[in-house]
Amino acid sequence: MDSDIQNWSQLWSHKKATKLDIVQLSERLQKIEQVDKLKRFFIPVLLISSVAIMVYRLTFNTSNFIAIALVISGFLVSLAPLFRTKSKTLNVATLTNKRYIKLEITRLKGRLDLPKNHFLISCIVIPLGMGIGYFSSLENAALEEHLFGYFILVTLFLALLYLRKLSIKKHQNHLIPIISDLETVLVNLEECTSKYT
């Protein structure tokens, strides 16, 4: 072995780990894991049962059925990228650094696009669904109630658009520097691969 490496290696090996209470850490992690298991069970059960109840009660009203379908689709569209990108980062323990960085960049870019594209669809679809549901229940209502309904829906639409704008800005400020740093690391790794081929 090279003498520099040997000297550094000797110095290096003298450094020992600082104390980490591993028993306490594993107990804490076990508890978190149990809570997560419960969440994984109860959240879908709650979601499916509430949707089932709503659909069952409104089956005979086409407008309401469309309204619920639109609102649920709006929420699912905004959540879809989170599930899609999460699945790509599961293999932290098996992926090489290069592959992991590539997937992480893709995941972060997916998060960057989240408010841009998916939230825009949600901004339109959710108020539309709510509008259909609301106006179908106001067939014989007075003009004031209709106007109030329009006012609420337009306000909701504008509020969602504003939240989308804020979200885009926040995502860009937070994620763009990280993506750029990770891309630099990737370029360094690839430079090594391409330079000597």
């Binding site: 520099d4 090996s13 450094k15 690391v185």
Partner: protein, 165 residues
């Protein structure tokens, strides 16, 4: 204690020193190294159920640690200012070797110099100093075995330059 907790503890005992050294070399200061160290073992716990092949434990834990370290880039952005200040105090003295006369200080200087390398270089040199083979380094980092040696030579030159100040 559950079977998983026993297994976790055993992996921790076997790997703690080398993983801590990697964390310290990557971050350059004890405070961030401690955070990263804990983060690595949280990831180890999370992925422990999916790990089957005991013979691959070394590569497995290093992939977990190095990938976690690379992702700590997110945190480094936030603490960069603090780190720059810390480096200024500890590293940018007129003659660093004079102030690092004892072994502990030389060791500190080595870790600090490594932390000033590019991210992938920090990982590779850490693996070299832990006596990993070129094959293992290639499997962890994701570069061809044939290029590992060339890369190490470049890192060595760079590190020597940094240590000379």
């Amino acid at each position: 204690m559950s079977t998983k907790a026993h297994r976790f503890k055993s992996i921790y005992e076997d790997s703690k020193d080398k993983i801590f050294r990697l964390c310290l070399a990557f971050s350059g200061n004890d405070m961030e190294a401690d955070d990263l160290f804990q983060e690595v073992y949280i990831k180890v716990w999370t992925h422990l159920d999916s790990f089957k092949n005991e013979s691959q434990i070394n590569t497995w834990i290093y992939k977990t640690a190095t990938n976690t370290a690379l992702l700590s880039i997110k945190k480094r952005n936030r603490t960069n200012e603090h780190l720059q200040q810390w480096k200024h105090t500890h590293f940018d003295s007129e003659d660093p070797m004079d102030s690092y006369a004892t072994m502990d200080h030389k060791m500190g200087l080595l870790f600090l110099a490594i932390s000033r390398l590019k991210e992938d270089h920090r990982i590779i040199i850490s693996l070299v100093l832990e006596n990993h083979s070129y094959q293992e380094i290639s499997e962890i980092v994701g570069i061809p075995v044939t290029h590992v040696g060339v890369k190490i030579n470049r890192i060595k030159k760079e590190l020597k330059k940094k240590l000379k100040g």
